[in-house]
């Protein structure tokens, strides 16, 4: 099953809306193509929209942190937007951290903060 998450470019920022189950292969592909795109378009930021993701477990958290780290190595910043309240509460209880990414309530706020970072 060939599947790829579409990466949208808005100004100097890359946007991915996660609407599907993130499995190993897909996550690695996403990480690789994001790094590639960050380099080719000189992106300042990467925004991952998880508002459609109803459950985030420790595995998905690790994937998001890994993407955040690799994007940071490239010199850009990674934002996770749209984490649902129940998901946030669950992550706190589980004691897992999203420490390699920034978070923002929504896309607008992430873009705003990315511009401030420039």
């Amino acid at each position: 099953m060939e599947q790829e998450l579409p990466i949208i470019q808005i100004r100097n920022c890359l946007l991915v809306s996660i609407q599907t189950e993130l499995h190993d292969r897909l996550a690695l592909d996403l990480q690789a193509s994001l790094m590639d795109r960050v380099r080719t378009v000189n992106a300042r930021g990467v925004i991952l929209d998880v508002s459609a993701v109803e459950v985030i477990d420790s595995y998905i958290t690790r994937i998001l942190n890994d993407i955040g780290k690799s994007v940071r190595f490239m010199g850009a910043e990674c934002f996770i937007v749209g984490i649902r309240p129940a998901v946030a509460m669950t992550l706190i209880e589980m004691g897992v951290e999203l420490d390699s990414v920034h978070t923002a309530l929504n896309l607008d706020l992430a873009m705003e903060r990315l511009e401030l970072l420039q």
Binding site: Q19, T20, E21, H23, D24, A52, V53, E54, V55, I56, D57, S58, Y59, T61, R62, R84, P85, A86, V87, M89, T90, E93, M94, G95, V96
Partner: protein, 233 residues
Amino acid sequence: MKTVEKEIGSILTGTISSITQRSIFNRLGGLATTPVQQLSAGDRETIMRELENSVRLFARSNSSQLIASCARALSPGSATGAAGSLGSLPPPPSGLALAPKKMPIEQEKDIATARLEAWSEAVRIGLSKFASVKVATAVSELARNIVFYAGTGTVELRSVKDDKGIAGLQIIATDQGPGIPQAKLDEIWAGTYKSQRGMGKGLVAVKKLVDVFHLDTRPGIGTTVTCVFKGER
């Protein structure tokens, strides 16, 4: 000729995420890919029952309107769309003790199915919305452990009652995988274990989420994790 999946999918888009939609269609099995025109009355009833449950659970707003639209889309030969008799199915039973549900976990896609199933069971027995997300997350962790480390196994959901009669949910994840040696277990609980694929934190996370946690693991024989979410009140 549109299949059930296409027809219903177009109604649910924007209200129910595609991840959840896929799980709903998975639960319908072969019916999801059946053209709408070829459905029998019984098929339609089965589909509507499943949809009603799921839409009530997951739609962020106007679920009754959505259910009516689904019924209209499925009703035979109604291009103009009268609501038909299907919109008036009896509401799904709620708060009842349910028969234990055992799900095989064999590949990554089973994780999503188990998670959704756990979520709807949690809501059905009366756990809060937040608690239900915790249940779904715990099941996700346990099912993932099975797929990653044991290959295959099962996740079983049972509704239980405490001595005050408050409903809770018991989750039993079983596999016949390699088991976890004591040294590794010590590292896991100490938080120093790092696995290749997970964060080595799945079990710790589950333990923190649930009210009762019991792990039985024997190297070479397998692992059983039993946990309980207690109902609030």
